[in-house]
């Protein structure tokens, strides 16, 4: 998620350009023309919806695929979206896309992690514990994000 400016962390997007013969198509295209575009492009699948961004341009939406066709030139571009294994699921849960019960589950999980972090401070006793080396490490853990906070805000 830290590198969203450079890539999509949840999905891999592939674009494939090709040419189709549009001479037999009506503009604006009818339903049968849309089906003809699909077969000319060698694409099968259920059409979710269509949209015309301009008078000579149609966009056909399928499950995780978008086909853009220029009805004048026949230039076509197929965009295919594939989930990135594990990352998509992790990001969806991290961004709380499911909402509903997951909101509460995530809150409980966060609370448990806080308890774990706080009680963890007192697990080790003696020189390596919170009264010795642990105090320095805990201090560093607080100080490092504070330094970054003051640099950027």
């Amino acid at each position: 998620m830290n590198h969203v400016a450079d890539w999509n962390p949840s999905y891999k997007i592939d674009n494939h350009t090709f040419q189709i013969d549009v001479s037999s198509l009506q503009v604006p295209p009818s339903d049968s023309d849309v089906n003809k575009i699909m077969s000319l492009s060698g694409i099968s699948g259920e059409i979710q919806s269509t949209f015309m961004p301009g008078p000579d341009h149609i966009r056909i939406f399928l499950e995780n695929q978008t086909l853009d066709v220029n009805l004048k030139t026949g230039n076509a571009e197929l965009e295919t979206i594939n989930k990135r294994a594990f990352l998509q699921e992790f990001n969806a849960m991290h961004l709380n896309h499911p909402k509903k019960l997951w909101t509460w589950m995530a809150d409980i999980y966060a609370a448990v992690l806080i308890i774990l972090a706080v009680t963890g401070l007192f697990v080790l006793k003696g020189k390596k514990g919170i009264t010795g080396r642990g105090a320095w490490l805990t201090g560093l853990g607080i100080l490092i994000p504070l330094i970054f906070y003051f640099i950027y805000f």
Binding site: V4, N8, I13, N15, M52
Partner: protein, 169 residues
């Protein structure tokens, strides 16, 4: 005999585990399979036609509006905006959200959306408008000839919805 008893207990435990696992999967599938709610809950009772808003944009400035249509484009990197189809041909409205507050999934393309937010106007200088067009082209993966691009008045005035909540169906 002792081993047989152990096996019996283990089988019972296994059955209980399987039942619990199935229940968990059932709940999880209920959570995941339904429509996607993003950001704040929708509050307005009715939607306004995109064409109505864009015909008289000044009337809706800084007011909360709800629009509905097909998601025809999504910001491919950050998921920070979507273009929603209008009821009028070739027309769309952009729903822009603050980065990270709402992340529109790229798989929303082609699906129906109901989005709510405040209608806003951006008045850009020539330099800002050019930078905006360049950024827009980069996000869409299109080429942009900055030197030869001729700015229009439309490029310098942008009307869009500052999205606060959306439901993708």
């Amino acid at each position: 005999m002792h081993f047989e008893t152990c096996n019996l207990v283990s089988t019972k435990k296994d059955k209980t585990m399987v039942k619990r696992l199935l229940l968990f999967i059932l709940i999880l599938s209920y959570i995941l399979a339904d429509e996607i709610e993003l950001g704040k809950k929708l509050e307005l009772n009715s939607t306004t036609k995109v064409s109505t808003i864009l015909d008289n944009p000044e009337k809706y400035l800084d007011k909360p509006v709800q629009v509905s249509g097909t998601v025809v484009d999504v910001c491919s990197h950050r998921g920070c905006w979507i273009d929603v189809s209008s009821d009028r041909p070739y027309e769309t409205i952009t729903v822009k959200v603050d980065d990270g507050v709402i992340v529109f999934p790229i798989t929303a393309k082609g699906k129906n959306v109901v989005a709510e937010g405040k209608f806003e106007k951006l008045s850009l200088t020539d330099e800002q408008a050019l930078r905006f067009k360049k950024h827009e082209a980069e996000e869409k993966g299109e080429e942009f000839d900055e030197k030869n691009y001729k700015l229009t008045e439309e490029d310098k005035t942008i009307y869009r919805l500052r999205g606060l909540g959306a439901v993708i169906q």
